[in-house]
């Protein structure tokens, strides 16, 4: 394998797989045929709707590249949403405290998951299935009905616009840029890929595997905290069932975006593009007034098809 080919392959990995971009174009063309899709309002709407999933997908990408999975993010976002809604209760002056709370809870739960991962050495899927269940219980113990409201600033973050673009999506773009740099241009990113791709070799090479995995869970927790705030802004109230199932959607976006579930390589740009594609598909189906049940069927079939087509690669020799 030549250095040029390796570099080329890494570039492809960083930008997401070709099938994703083919899907982007196809979906874009199909959408263009729909009257009303290309209005500035509707496009901004698509981005607004995709922001929560995009935020979760950014964090999840780090965990998956490290060869693990974080199923707790949907319920973590929900816990943050409920706590922040109760704290703010619509008061403008509480915005900063709520942002601090979201970051603290997100980072705290992520760090706890990482520590448990290092101590117990159990499969990340089963560990975070456990923490998901505990977080859901804690959220329901805190409240089993909607409470509180976002401050005007948080509502603006989710629903407002800056030069026609949703602020939440600008936040996503900023974070994608940072995450992309971290993943592909820092020592941490190299370590992360090494830990996910070949944990044994990484350990022998002196990479602090436990610390790298912990960092991945902390990043995932933080992104879930931010996603909880944005979701709160969209919903307008602290609804304790808000984030159920989001963890699986996030994993779908990450995989569609070209990150291998086996770990070792991945693309945050791909993850976010996939989240937006899913948003465009559901927006189109909404414009076509397709029932939500049929939408689910179509979404499932799109996932299966893209995954299967992406699977047929010349690299797949083993």
């Amino acid at each position: 394998m030549t250095a040029g080919r390796t570099a080329g392959r890494l570039a492809v990995a960083a930008a997401g797989p070709p099938i994703l971009w083919v899907t982007v174009v196809l979906v874009g063309v199909a959408a263009a045929l729909l009257p009303g899709f290309f209005s500035a309002d509707n496009l901004a709407n698509v981005l607004r709707q995709s922001a929560v999933l995009a935020l979760l997908a950014i964090g999840q990408t780090f965990v998956v590249v490290a060869g693990m999975m974080d199923l707790s993010v949907g319920m973590l976002a929900t816990l943050v949403l409920v706590l922040a809604a109760d704290l703010m209760d619509g008061r403008a002056e509480a915005t900063l405290a709520a942002v601090g709370l979201a970051a603290a809870v997100g980072i705290g739960v992520g760090a706890l998951t990482g520590v448990l991962n290092n101590l117990l050495r159990i499969n990340s899927l089963i560990l975070t299935l456990g923490t998901l269940t505990i977080l859901q219980g804690v959220t329901f113990i805190y409240t089993d009905q909607s409470l509180g409201a976002p401050s005007p600033a948080i509502a603006w973050l989710a629903n407002g616009d800056v030069l026609g673009l949703p602020p939440s999506f600008l936040l996503v773009v900023l974070l994608v840029a940072l995450a992309h740099l971290a993943l592909h241009h820092t020592r941490f990113g190299v370590h992360l890929a090494a830990v996910g791709g070949a944990p044994q070799s990484a350990r022998q090479a002196g990479i602090p595997v436990g610390r790298v995995q912990l960092a991945a869970f902390v990043i995932s927790g933080l992104s879930a905290g931010l996603a909880g705030l944005v979701l709160l802004g969209r919903l307008g109230t602290g609804y304790p069932n808000a984030g159920i199932g989001l963890e699986l959607d996030a994993i779908v976006a990450v995989v569609l975006g070209g990150t291998a579930l086996a770990g070792g390589r991945g693309s945050v740009i791909g993850s976010v593009a996939a989240a937006v594609v899913l948003g465009i598909v559901s927006n189109m189906l909404n414009l076509l007034e397709v029932s939500s049940f049929v939408q689910m069927v179509i979404k499932g079939l799109v996932v299966i098809m893209v995954i299967l087509i992406g699977q047929v690669r010349p690299e797949r020799a083993a």
Partner: protein
Amino acid sequence: MSRPDEIAAPTPAAAAPVGVAASRRLRSFPETLAIWLVLVVLLVVAGALSEAFLRPVYLGNIIRQAAPIGIAAVGVTFVMILGGVDLSIGATISLGAVLCAAAMNGDPANIAPAVALACLAAGAIGALNGILIAVTGVSPFILTLGTAITLYGVTQLVTGGTAHGIIAPGFREVFNVRIGGILPTLGLAFLVVAAAGATVQHVTTFGRRLYLIGSNPAAARLAGLPVRRTVILAYTLSGLLGGLGGIALLARSGVSGSLAASGYEFDVLAAVVLGGTTFEGGRGGIGGTVAGVLILFVAFNLVNVIGLNYHAQLVVKGAVIIVASAIYRRLRDAGSS
């Protein structure tokens, strides 16, 4: 260590697999014993806290409660021994329940065809999962997640999003008769399915192939084992038993909500993993899974009897999943060194 879905890469050790796999199976025996010990200890603790757990009728009732998840978990155990996973199991259970109720439509004459239809549909879904996984080598985790989303949509389409279909008179009654005044028929059905699953695992060539393929797929392929056929059969069984689990759910609850079993995939996975079958494949078995299912349901009932609500049950469930898995990990490390 955290590679739940990918088939392990060929390693230099691939050359000497059969003896290793066999000794691994022998070693897994004390593990299975350990999980049953945990169940006994839990029952003793529960019995000390509440006399209810000493009453056979109450225990029979726990087995009845566990039947839908337990029956489905038997099939998922096969898939996970193989190193795969079936996230569509909750959606399959839901679809099984909904199809069965819709086809029954309140007429006792329709019971048999309705059950057959649910089994056929669920088995076909499993077969489709298996064929796609075996032929393309796609990650089972993400493929069955896609199947799950699709099936939940289909189920909602069938029902229109509300409870749908009418149970025929006699259907629930048959399943809720207590044999000898203790064990409901539904509980017996779970135990029969588990016994059948254990027999398949221990006695048949298919059962042995599951372990060989799960512990070293590359070696199994080189040794000429029919890997594809085994994978397809395992997922078909998982789908079929998911359908039976759906029928059991219908018999237990009597209502077929369109999302009756949404989230059950996590409960099934938790039970299977508690029972000592890992995401990596090659170890575990039906015996452990049955104990895992019973531990989960005894724990739920205990929390209930103590007087904590459903929300606290979730916290306990999560803690049980984490702690039990950690204990296993220790046992396994101790056993293999």
